[in-house]
Structure formats: C-alpha cells, structure tokens
C-alpha cells in the first residue's frame, strides 16, 4: 500500500492501520488482503467478483471493514457483496469507496450489496464515497443496496458522499418483515458539474415495521441532485421520509418523496425542503468574527454531520 492508498482508506473508512476484526480490502478490482474471525467469515465468490460475509448467529460487538479503493484510471470495477447476518447478531459494517483518478479515462466502481438480516439481528452500516485526483477522467460510483430484514431486525445505514464523485446513481431497496426497523441517513455534497441521483424504496410488509429515511444534501456550483425516496406501507407500520437540501450558486435540486399506503393502518409521513442557507444563520456567525465564506462552511459542515 502506498501513501495514496492509506489516505483514501483513512477518508472512507477512518482506517489508520489494519482494522481489528474481520476485513477485506479491495484495490483496483482485486482483493488486497482479507481476514475472517471466529464469528465472521469472509469467502470470495467463485462465480462472479465479490465476497460473501457470513456473520454467525449471536455475534456481538464485532466489526467488518470492506473498503474499496481505485487508483488506476480507466477501471470499471463491478463487485457483488452478500451479507448473511445470523439471528440476534449485533455488528458494525464499514464499507466505502475511494477513487483517485489522475488519468483521462473514467474510473467506475459499482458495488452491489445485498443484506440478509436474520431475526432480531442489528447492524450498523456505514458507507462513505469519495473521489480525488486531477485527471480529466470521471469518478463514477453507482451503488446498489438491497436489504431484507427478518422479524425484529434493525438496520441503521449511514451513507455519505464526501466529495469529488462526478456521477452517482444510488439505488436502495428494502423489505421489512414484522417489527423490523430501518433507519437510513443519507448525506451528500456535490460541487462543480457533478450529478447525483438517489432512489430509495422501502417496503414495510409486516405489522409493527418502521422506517425513517433522512436525506440531507448540499448542492454547490452547477451540480445537479435528484432524490426519490418512496415508503410503501403494506401492513400496520410507520414510516417517515425527510429530504432537506441546501442549494447554492447555480445548482439544481429536485426532491420527489413518495409515500404509498396499501393498508389502512399504515402511518406514513414525508417532508421535503430546499432552500438557500438562511441569512440570519450567516449573520449570526459573522457576528462571531467569521467571514461570510467561513460562516457558510461551518453551516454546511454542521448540516451534513
């Protein structure tokens, strides 16, 4: 691993050294290093690129890190990662992709992640996306996330696109059985001429299922963003969808939250807001001695935290 590798890993997975617990580090389309533990097994797939991550039932307080880095220009890396989370397990999964593209061809990573979460299991999934490098080639990330939650399973997902991703289309779908709970927190910042689209569909199929989808974004320069979350209530359930965007410069943001109830006992709410940075907030911070630009950055940083 060289310095670019370690910096990318630090940005996307807060990794300063080899992580504790199970891990798989993928670089430029191939596995770089991998470790399984007694309770978490990581098995490379034989039929297509990717890995199976198998977490034994009842595993507690363990973590899996599966970062991906791309440093070669012109790569198109497609990978399938399947998670099998045993009943009553409680684990942290840190994923993420960092692209350093110094060349003139596009670098692309499409991660297809499927989660099978067993009864009463709990996962916290953190995914950060980041791009850098001064080549003319694009940095493209099109993640697909599929979540299946058994009864009482809890899934918390934090998906963050930090900076430098030229084009992204995120597709997330989830199926929730009775008493399952899904919390999705999405944070996105686009700048330059970047484009980002996020489609999320959550289907609440069992009584007592609940979901909360919170999307916060900042669109700068002439970037474009589209959000399309949809919560579908097929049983006695609760869901809350919230999209909140700060728009700056010549950016475009489109929020299209949708809610569908196929059951009279479904309670589903959506809220969406798009607006400039509030002027009073800017002025307040300027009275602390900050310039307008410093104040803007503090507000954006807090908003996307």
């Amino acid at each position: 691993m060289d310095r670019i590798d370690t910096q990318l890993l630090e940005t996307i997975a807060d990794l300063h050294e080899i992580p504790a617990g199970a891990y798989n580090i993928r670089k430029n389309g191939a596995g770089l290093s991998r470790r399984s533990t007694a309770n978490i097994e990581i098995v490379p797939k034989t039929d297509k690129p990717g890995i199976d991550i198998i977490v034994a039932p009842g595993t507690k307080n363990e973590s899996v890190h599966i970062p991906v880095i791309l440093t070669e220009t012109g790569l198109n890396d497609l990978v399938y990662n399947d998670f099998y989370i045993g009943e009553d397990a409680d684990v942290l999964i840190v994923a993420g992709c960092g692209i350093h593209n110094a060349g003139d061809s596009d670098s692309q990573h499409d991660g297809i992640h499927t989660f099978h979460i067993g009864k009463n299991a709990h996962i916290r999934y953190i995914e950060k996306h980041y791009g850098e490098g001064d080549g003319k080639g694009g940095r493209i990330l099109n993640p697909v996330t599929v979540v299946e939650q058994a009864e009482g399973a809890v899934c918390e997902m934090e998906m963050v696109q930090v900076r430098g991703v030229d084009s992204t289309v995120r597709t997330t779908t989830a199926e929730l059985a009775a008493d399952a709970k899904l919390i999705v927190t999405e944070r996105l910042m686009t700048h330059g001429t970047q484009e980002a689209r996020s489609d999320i569909e959550v289907r609440l199929n069992g009584n007592g299922a609940s979901s909360q989808i919170v999307s916060r974004s900042v669109a700068r320069d002439s970037s474009k963003q589209i959000f399309h979350p949809n919560a579908v209530g097929n049983a006695e359930c609760r869901a809350h969808v919230q999209c909140d965007s700060i728009i700056m410069d010549d950016a475009t943001v489109s929020s299209i939250p949708a809610i569908t109830a196929n059951c009279a006992d479904a309670q589903i709410i959506h809220e969406a807001a798009i607006g400039r940075i509030n002027n009073d907030q800017l002025i307040k911070l300027m009275t602390f001695g900050m310039t307008e630009e410093e104040a803007e950055n503090v507000i954006i940083e807090g908003f996307l935290k």
């Binding site: 916060r216 909140d244 509030n278 009073d280 907030q281 002025i283 307040k284 911070l285 300027m286 009275t287 602390f288 001695g289 900050m290 310039t291 503090v298 507000i299 940083e301 807090g302 908003f303 996307l304 935290k305």
Partner: protein
C-alpha cells in the same frame, strides 16, 4: 466607548423614504450599563443592527473606541470587540450548543468553561451541552443559549436584545446576576434593550427610543421614575 453621530437609516417605501432611525446622537461610556427601552416598532433592534453592522446607515457615523467604524463589515466590528445577542436567535441544524459556544469564543472551549456559561443563564450543562441549537429547542431555551454565546464572546461592548423575552422567573434572576457580573467584575460596556423594570434597575443610563428618535435619555434616577409614572398613570414623584 461608542458614539453615534446623527445616525440615520431610511428604507424606500411607496416612492418615499421611511425614516426608521432618524438622526440619533448617543454616547455609551466605557464600563457603563445602558438600558434602551421604548414602544414596539420604535427602532431599538434596528439601532443595535446598525451598531453591529448588519444594516448600513444611510447617514451619520459610528465611532468605536475613537475609530470610525461606519464602513466596516460585521466580522471587522466583531474583531474590534462588538457583540450582539439577537432578539430572535437563528437555529442551526447540526450545530451543538457546545460547538456554538466555541465558535463564539473563537477557540475550542473546555467542557467546564462551556458549562459555566450555560449555568449563568440557568441551563443545566448536562442536558444542553450536546443538544443541537435547532428547532427542537423551545423559544426560551434558544434565547438563553443565545445569551450564553454572547457571554462566551467576551466582547468589550455587548448588546442584548430583549434578553428577558420568553424566560422563566428562575432563569431571569440568574440572568440579572450575570448582567451585574458583566459590568461589575468583568468591566464590559453593556447595552440591554429591554421592557423589564428589573433590568432597568441595573442601568446607570437609560435611553428611550420612539419613532426612530431618542426621545429621552439620562441617568436611571432621572428617567425610570418618570417612565413608571407615565406607564402606571401614577403622579410623578
């Protein structure tokens, strides 16, 4: 400390100019406690915003410690030592009370230092330090955080805009004590815009602003009995 000379602020309205602040002359001595009061819509907040640089005057000058600051920006005035607690504090998504206090102080404050500022306005640090200054705070809570941030600024001239608004009786007593400390031990120059008699009791100087003009100013003993007399319809003593 602060001198306003023929300060005016007009806004265009229906083809004419509306005089919001009209040729105000005012002097705030160093280490003084001034209470500005007067009817709603009289121009008190506008005057404070002019001093802070949030509004630009259409006439007159503002002198701070002998320097003409009329053309200076908000951060430039802040750096010279002027601070202002808003009548209606803005809310911030994602900024904790602790972070806001540190931003106000211009340095990363210790937990103990933050706690002291919160306690001074009657907020329990354990409960509020890590709360976000967002819409989930009640009006009175946000108001007290706003006052605490101005205390943390440690500015030489501090302006509080109706600090009593929405604040319960218990916190109000603490606030009065904190104001006493600001002028007493800390030797700040304090301007409080207020409608509260208990705050007026702390003043050395009182100014009444109505219709954009200073209509009365003087020592507390000159102004306060007259004011209370007018309001109560009592006979002047």
């Amino acid at each position: 400390m602060l001198k306003l000379e023929q300060l005016s602020f007009q806004v265009p309205a229906d083809g004419t100019n509306l005089e919001i602040i009209d040729s105000v002359d005012l002097e705030i001595p160093t280490g003084s406690f001034t209470v500005i009061t007067g009817p709603n819509g009289g121009g008190k907040s506008t005057l404070a915003r002019l001093i802070m640089g949030i509004e630009k005057p259409t006439g007159g000058r503002i002198l701070f410690k002998g320097e003409d600051i009329t053309a200076l920006s908000i951060p430039e005035r802040a750096k010279r030592g002027i601070g202002y607690a808003f009548q209606q504090p803005p809310r911030f998504k994602g900024l904790t009370v602790r972070r806001l206090l540190s931003l106000a102080a211009g340095e990363s404050l210790s937990k103990d230092a933050c706690s002291a500022y919160l306690t001074a306005v009657g907020l329990d640090p354990d409960e509020y330090l890590n709360r976000e200054m967002d819409a989930s705070l009640s009006g009175g809570e946000a108001k007290r955080v706003e006052i605490a941030t101005l205390m943390a600024r440690r500015a030489e001239l501090v302006i509080f805009d109706e600090p009593e608004a929405g604040i319960d009786l218990w916190s109000f007593s603490m606030l009065v004590e904190s104001f006493r400390t600001l002028v007493g031990e800390d030797r700040r120059s304090v301007i409080v815009i207020s409608h509260q008699e208990r705050i007026m009791q702390l003043a050395d100087t009182m100014v009444i602003i109505a219709g954009g003009k200073v209509c009365q100013s003087g020592t507390r003993d000159e102004i306060l009995p007259k004011l209370l007399g007018e309001v109560d319809g009592r006979k002047e003593a």
